[in-house]
């Protein structure tokens, strides 16, 4: 038996077959420049050259982030919250306020010893290592290459594990049937949802609705941009001033940073 195996292993390879396979690989590479199954050089080049603003695909060359200057965020101001609700067509449900969707909320804090008060918006922090994605049993909770954390409602089964895993309580479950959605922002009963960083606007080159409203009629406390681009406003600001991530001890590396907390 062992002799037979030995004999098989020593058989000279079929050189004709090898040449044929080699030629096939060469032809494939020349035709599509395939570097791995499903990935072609042309797609990577397009994604990098045009960027998401040019109609390309989300790329890990970018990381969208937010910087909130809490010293400019006014107590009682709800401009960002109402802009978010308008943009994403979030309306209160029928009679159970604790079940209403909340993509963005304002938090009022007071330091007990000094009496310092501050106000800040809290939403999905778009973590680099999101626990909601880790726990999702179906893969519906996902992180785009450019750092935006989303729920794929097509495959979300509404189990709400992600809501329990999120340390920022950023996610909501839709309990009731919905109507009058924004055509760009599909939402529906039975799925978990959270701040999308207004991904439909960001892909068009616009800023999220909360940032736009804050800079127009609010305190001008929010800066949105690409953290990885050293020339962007947000990258310059976080390089110049002290900012921190909420629950940085969890080492989730959120894309939302706060100044003055």
């Amino acid at each position: 038996m062992s002799e037979r195996k030995q004999g098989q292993r020593d058989d000279p390879p079929d050189s004709g077959r090898r040449a044929f396979i080699g030629a096939g690989v060469g032809v494939t590479a020349a035709a599509t420049l395939a570097i791995a199954p499903g990935i072609r050089l042309i797609e990577i080049a397009q994604a990098h050259s045009s960027g998401i603003h040019g109609g390309g695909l989300a790329s890990s060359k970018q990381r969208w982030g937010l910087l909130v200057d809490t010293t400019r965020c006014k107590s009682g101001c709800q401009e960002c919250v109402s802009a978010c609700a308008r943009e994403n067509a979030i309306a209160p449900g029928s009679g159970r306020p604790s079940q209403n969707s909340q993509w963005l909320r304002k938090i009022e804090l007071k330091e007990q010893r000094t009496g310092r008060e501050l106000s800040l918006p809290m939403m999905c922090q778009h973590c680099a290592k999101p626990p909601c994605v880790d726990v999702c049993p179906t893969g519906a909770s996902m992180r785009r290459a450019d750092g935006i954390v989303l729920v794929d409602r097509h495959i979300c089964i509404g189990c709400r594990y992600c809501m329990m895993a999120c340390p920022y309580q950023a996610r909501s479950f839709v309990h009731e049937p919905l109507h009058d959605q924004n055509p760009q922002v599909p939402r529906g009963q039975g799925c978990v949802e959270a701040c999308t960083l207004c991904v439909h606007r960001v892909d068009k080159g616009l800023q999220p609705a909360c940032v736009e409203a804050c800079n127009k009629t609010g305190g001008g406390a929010m800066v949105f941009g690409d953290i990885k681009d050293p020339a962007s406003d947000i990258a310059k600001r976080i390089a110049a001033v002290a900012s921190s991530q909420v629950r940085a001890d969890l080492r989730l590396d959120p894309g939302v940073r706060y100044q003055g907390i």
């Binding site: 998401i52 109609g55 695909l57 989300a58 308008r86 943009e87 067509a89 996902m142 785009r144 290459a145 450019d146 989303l150 794929d152 409602r153 097509h154 049937p177 919905l178 109507h179 009058d180 959605q181 924004n182 055509p183 760009q184 922002v185 599909p186 939402r187 529906g188 009963q189 039975g190 799925c191 991904v199 892909d203 068009k204």
Partner: protein, 121 residues
């Protein structure tokens, strides 16, 4: 022989009754001739086209692609209600109720055309 003929006549009458029971859906397209693919291809594969595109749009951020549910709705929404749902005369609902296939898209997606939808686009 007589019984056989009577049986045949009954069968024919039944077949006629069955074909008369379910009328073909009335397909009225507000903006005809602008579809992304021929009618035969759309009828057979529109669900696959949308299913592939939805993953690309959501997960990779591809916008402005050839296939888009919102673009479908913009052309196919009825002139009266501005929607693809509502009655058997409306585009999506008409065919789907004829073939008895449940239409899940509009549990989440807005069935009205962008111009007439309640929320701002």
């Amino acid at each position: 022989m007589l019984r056989l003929l009577a049986g045949l006549a009954l069968l024919l009458a039944l077949a006629q009754a069955a074909s008369a029971e379910v009328p073909k859906p009335v397909v009225a397209i507000a903006n005809p001739g602008k579809c992304v693919a021929p009618v035969e291809e759309m009828r057979r594969s529109h669900m696959d086209m949308l299913k592939h595109q939805r993953d690309k749009t959501l997960r990779q951020g591809e916008r402005g692609a050839k296939v888009s549910l919102n673009a479908c709705i913009d052309c196919h929404a009825s002139k009266e209600g501005g929607s693809v749902l509502g009655s058997k005369e409306n585009f999506c609902q008409g065919c789907h109720s004829y073939v008895a296939v449940k239409l899940d898209c509009f549990e989440c997606h807005q069935p009205k055309a962008t111009k007439t939808a309640g929320a701002k686009p």
